[in-house]
Amino acid sequence: MPFGLLKYGLSNNYPFEKDADLPPPTALKKRYDVVIIGGGGHGVATAYYLAKYHGITNVAILEKGYLGGGNTARNTAVIRSNYLTSDGVKFYAESVKLFRDLSNEFDFNIMYSKRGQLTLAHTDAAIRGFRQRTEVNKHFGGKTELIDPQQIRELVPTLNMNPGHQPVLGGLWHIDGATARHDAVAWGYAKGATQRGVELHQLTEVTDVIVENGKVKGVKAKQGSAEHTIECGIAVQAVAGHSSLLAEKAGFRLPIVTYPLQAMVTQPVKPFLDPLVSSPAFHCYVQQTGRGELVFGGGSDPYPLYNSRSTLELKEQLLAHAVELFPFVANLKLMRQWTGLTDMTSDYSPIMGLSPVENYYLDAGWGTWGFKSTPICGKTMAELVATGKVPELIKPFGADRFSEFRQVNEMGATAASH
């Protein structure tokens, strides 16, 4: 070992470990069967399931930054399926199930941790809404209960039960609620995909989509100053935060408006908060990570923007609410804050499946609900690519639902903003 180290120390070449999780970068080929635009969780998951279940390995993932460096790294890593519509619950419940086994499947620890998620009701109307969500969830195999203040006190003894003159009347207790390390999910999928022969090209930005006679033929990509034209049979776009802009390059529009979403994390403290706690009335959710930090998140910004800038107003509003719920955190210091871009649809459901361009498939409109759907999204998109047929599970989420007025009104989409 010391000699090996010395040898590498004197060498000009950076050694590549034999058992590295990802293979060293290769040159881009002229043609791939499938090009996946976007190397975030969804993109690499799609490649992984394509290789694993469908034997399609002539696949390139083109990522303009680095693996999982976009919105995959900017969400607050909440896994849950306590949604409102039957279409939504079925879809997300499947995802929650897949998350459980991912660490084993990858042989890579995604730090999956089942904590349960508690949504607070401060009004009778919220209780009624929760009752409905409980029943829909149970019907589709999820574990969700409506619980009373005493049960909440037992679950979260540190919670202020009378915050801001809006007493906690009850809660939606989602036993399946969990968290995982979001980067590791992308890394695990990338590891599995590249082991099966998929190519991951980082720092490779798609600058144009080549469409001929309404059919996708390839993409133009830029690596540094080098321009490449890559042919492909099928292209998948999975670029949360920039969906509208890429779609425009492919020649069509999407019913999406992009808003920033800000989140933040405190210095680490002793573990005191097991469940993920959210309050729609307070536009705020709080969870404690495995490292002891408190993560605070809320709704998207109040107006659209393509910018990851930070605003004091939003932080003050959000933290004022968080301090109402847990008054003793007021003295904690914030350690980091960041912003992601959320592609919001008007019905709070994703846009998946076919696009106006033949063989160009959409994985877009992931607003504030993208991370939790990573596994099922990869699985269904892979099935779509392999078979050319839209899987039942994602049929309701087609882009055409807007022109046909059959939206999937997902009011349970964001723990914070409804």
């Binding site: 509208s244 425009e248 999407l254 019913p255 109040p302 659209p304 923007l305 393509y306 910018n307």
Partner: protein, 113 residues
């Protein structure tokens, strides 16, 4: 603190304002087909340039138009809706006094989001 230059109240903290969606014109109520309504309702501008937007000052109940860059967040121009010739072709011509007071219904009709 981000400042919104309100045409009525002068520069104010942006937290006093509510974003009201893109400025668009309503399809013909009598003749527009469903597809056009869907387009109007769901497909808003989402590019990286300057957008023309409705904004509302909550305290004074005042709607106006702002031209804002969707990447830099720079507010380039704000003005009273009556100055917009595409919305109020007649008002913008002669009667300046009347133009500063657009009828409430006329403004309301254009607010779609």
């Amino acid at each position: 603190m981000k400042i919104m230059p309100c045409p009525l109240n002068g520069p104010r903290n942006i937290s006093e304002f509510v974003y009201g969606g893109e400025v668009t014109s309503l399809p013909d109520v009598e003749t527009a087909p469903d597809k056009e309504w869907a387009e109007h309702t769901f497909y808003a501008y989402n590019g990286t340039g300057v957008a023309k937007e409705w904004w509302y000052h909550v305290a004074s109940g005042y709607w106006f138009i702002a031209e804002r860059h969707r990447v830099t967040d720079q507010i380039l121009r704000t003005y009273d809706p009556s100055e917009d010739r595409t919305l109020f072709p007649a008002a913008a011509t002669t009667d300046a006094a009347a133009a500063t007071q657009p009828s409430a219904e006329a403004v309301k009709e254009e607010i779609t989001e």
